[in-house]
Symmetry: C2
Subunit: 226 residues, 2 copies
């Protein structure tokens, strides 16, 4: 968590404190591991890539790899979590007038767009995240790990929503329900994006997401038949 790639978003803790050599080197090997792993996964698949391969590609011991990542899954999902963090940041800064549902919708759209306009290569790039999404969806072990991460992220969404609307999530179930619905909608969109030959790139993902959001009302409405 503390070793995560820092975002443009300034965290209040580290003001003016230049990171020492130690810190920089750590960040460096971490990035290298993520990038090497990513390349290997893309090239030969997740299962057929061993941790030893990743480690020796960066010229560190296997043991060191496991000091940076708790398991093989984590290095694959590292890129995604940066994107998720940015989404949370967006959500926190939506105007208060927006409906909770509107705020959520606007936040992911904004997050994808902003990330799309940022650097398009290297670790943490949007391209990486999108490629990863494909690998994740058809690697059972990774998909499982990813889903678990997503539900943890949902907890955070609940908290932000409750804060924003000024209510206690233990009493009022609406934040929990909305976060759950939102999460499932997003996943459906991801699935569709990876499965179908949807327009590629961040903008394509935005299109798919909006399409699913638009179906929320109709899906919950009474009968579907005329």
């Amino acid at each position: 968590m503390a070793a995560r790639t820092p975002h443009p978003v300034g965290t209040p803790e580290d003001l003016g404190r230049a990171p020492g050599l130690r810190e920089r080197k750590k960040q460096q090997t971490r990035d290298a591991l993520v990038q090497a792993a990513h390349a290997l996964f893309l090239g030969q698949g997740f299962a057929r890539t061993t941790v030893d391969e990743i480690a020796s590609a960066v010229d560190v011991s296997q043991r060191t790899f496991f000091r940076y990542f708790a398991n093989k899954d984590e290095v694959a999902l590292a890129v995604m979590s940066d994107a998720e963090d940015y989404f949370i940041h967006c959500l926190r800064h939506r105007p208060a007038e927006e409906t909770p549902l509107q705020a959520l919708r606007a936040s992911i759209v904004q997050a994808w767009r902003d990330l799309g306009n940022a650097r398009t290569s290297g670790p943490g790039s949007i391209g990486s995240a999108l490629e990863l999404l494909r690998i994740i969806e058809d690697t059972p072990a990774l998909l499982a790990a990813h889903l678990r991460r997503v539900t943890e992220q949902e907890r955070l969404v609940v908290q932000v929503l409750a804060e924003r609307e000024g209510l206690d999530p233990a009493e009022d179930l609406r934040p929990v329900v909305l976060a759950a619905v939102f999460g499932s909608l997003l996943r459906a969109a991801h699935l569709s994006w990876t499965a179908e030959q949807e327009p590629a790139g961040p903008e394509g993902m935005v299109v798919v997401i909006e399409r699913y959001f638009d179906q929320l009302g109709p899906a919950l409405a009474g009968h579907w038949r005329d």
Copy 2:
């Protein structure tokens, strides 16, 4: 899949065909493995139980265990999948007049109630399923595997819904969206049930589920503040 505990629901394939000794023995060891695993998981936790322990409790080799279950997760989740199958069965037989959302809601409630009234011990029992749910929720590896299974089940729900309403899920997104929302709602309910000191037993679960469903409308409605 073929080795799953048969349900009271008659499958058209096996009419009057008494299963031979071979088949019976297989089913027997499978059940024994599930039951032994369940007991061990409950007693000492999932992580601290080795596959060797489970296997030797049933007096088979470790290799045999892995011929019945692809991995340790699977034996833990076996009980759940029986319950899920029954839910699908219920959904298929809901009256056509019901709204899709109504049908889904009625189906889980019915499934929990029916299972609650069935045998209350042994493999596949309701008690087992509920105990398992607790173990699953606080065992990261199991939770991950469970979530993946759930999303697969969601696909099936999509299919049943589309069939029921007579539309093509590739064209119309409503079944996908509704299934996703339904799944997330259920998971929220499970989470709440295991976390809080909700009324125990199947009926307690039904109460929680209905409470969440009731919040669906309000959560999606405009502003939450007065």
